[in-house]
Amino acid sequence: MMNPMIAQCKAELLRIIRNPYYVFWSLLMPIMFYFIFTRVVNTGTDDTKQWQAHYLMSMAAFSVMGSAIMTLGVRLVQEQTQGWNTFIRITPLPSSVYFFGKMFGQSIMHLFSVLCIFAAGYLINGVSLTAAQWLLSGLWLLAGSLPFLALGTIIGSMKRVDTASGVSNVLYMGLAVAGGMWMPLEIMPKLMQKIGHWLPSYNYGDGAWAIVAGDSPSWKAVLLLLGYLAVFMLLSVYIRRKQEAV
């Protein structure tokens, strides 16, 4: 007798391994960007080594945020529209286990992305951090992806795949740019900076930036991310309840 939780996680993992398309796309753009903005374009920073480590974190965060919002969201909508969800609902599997399986699969995928991007940083620029910094920034990136996974489940409650992929794309790019993942917030207009500081994407990146700069993540970043997580989760549960009541 296999535990449904273990079986569900195993199935989700298998599905991700067998569908490398999503993983590939979540890695291609961040690694290209990383190469361009640390090797090709001269960004004119004083401390090159520090910038290379900083931007590596930006791109790792960018990649993980993307797959949390888009991959999860679009896949959930696919399963919904193809009727698989309806079938799951008539089985005794609790929806919490179903969601946990999804989160587990996503987290493994995130772990893989983080490892690949860190390796790219090492190979492209010889980024060198202490073992503790590598480990802590990696853990931060994994844990900090939770609010974005919750956001992904909101996207996942949409009715059509087209809508979901459109909305999640805009959201993803908007959050990345306004949150200072593509270029530091400091070079943006004052108003943009003010808004940016309150976005989940900025605070997600900020924790990792702090770690590679030798600090620890600020309380503000931790609390804001937890706050976003709570809001997105409540919203997601509320939307699903409403849909089921129809």
């Binding site: 296999m2 449904p4 569900q8 569908n19 009727g83 698989w84 079938f87 609902r89 089985t91």
Partner: protein, 303 residues
Amino acid sequence: MEHVIEMNNVSRSFQEKQAVKQVSFTISRGSITAVLGPNGAGKTTTLAMLLGLLEPSEGSVKVFGLKPADVRVKQRTGAMLQEVSVMDRLKVRELLALIRSYYPQPMEMEVLLQATGLGEADLNRYAEKLSGGQKRSLSFALALAGNPDLLFFDEPTVGLDTTARRLFWERVRGLADQGKTILFSTHYLQEAEDIADRILLFNRGVLAADGSPDEIKARLVKKSLSFLASGDPALLRNQLLELPAVEGCYEKDGRLHVSTGNTDEALRAIFVNGLAVQDVRIDQGKLDEAFEQLTLNQEEAAV
């Protein structure tokens, strides 16, 4: 007898439209019941409520004495839905193992593999790559994964060829022989008549008739008499129309047909009065006709 399903005055509306109106019925253990009706009659909505996918707008639905969405109900229920969908990137074998793991007392894997009717090579293929018919067989096996006491099939044979259809019903009969309760929806009359021991006839959201195939026939189908005239047909016709039991008289294919509400009465009158008839036949209407007649009547009534 123990009631597996109890529907009490159930209605269900979607916005303005009432899909199911005031439906009540009970299903006892071990029976095969057909929910029969034309498209849009409320069959799928009724099934969705029994599966806990939809809440009734009014009335109560009980399965095994509990709410259909209760996990204890789901553990004893299996279903094959109209829309067949499978999780992508999982092999048939893996999918079956996954769904089995959801149930406390699943069906043995060997039985399920056999229920798919798939060969060794297909069992190791990704489920989404199977053909339409193979996917249906797989979804039949998935419905059995929890070794359920109660099975729902929503239009299970749509898109199956004759052989596959026969095979499917053979399996369903086998399940019924094991004491499982089965409820299926169909718009094929022949299927309902052949397979079910009870028919719930739905039309426009209303439970229009409920009974064994024979009872439904008896209630809905007008029997008619036909014979050859041994004397003068015109005279015989006039004589027939004078009998109180005879409602109408017409000629078809060289035979004289008599429509009547009571064939026994009509026959007695014919012989008592010594009418010149020979080669008497009692024609039993088919359920097909009854079905058409009923749905037509209701449409006329609605106009």
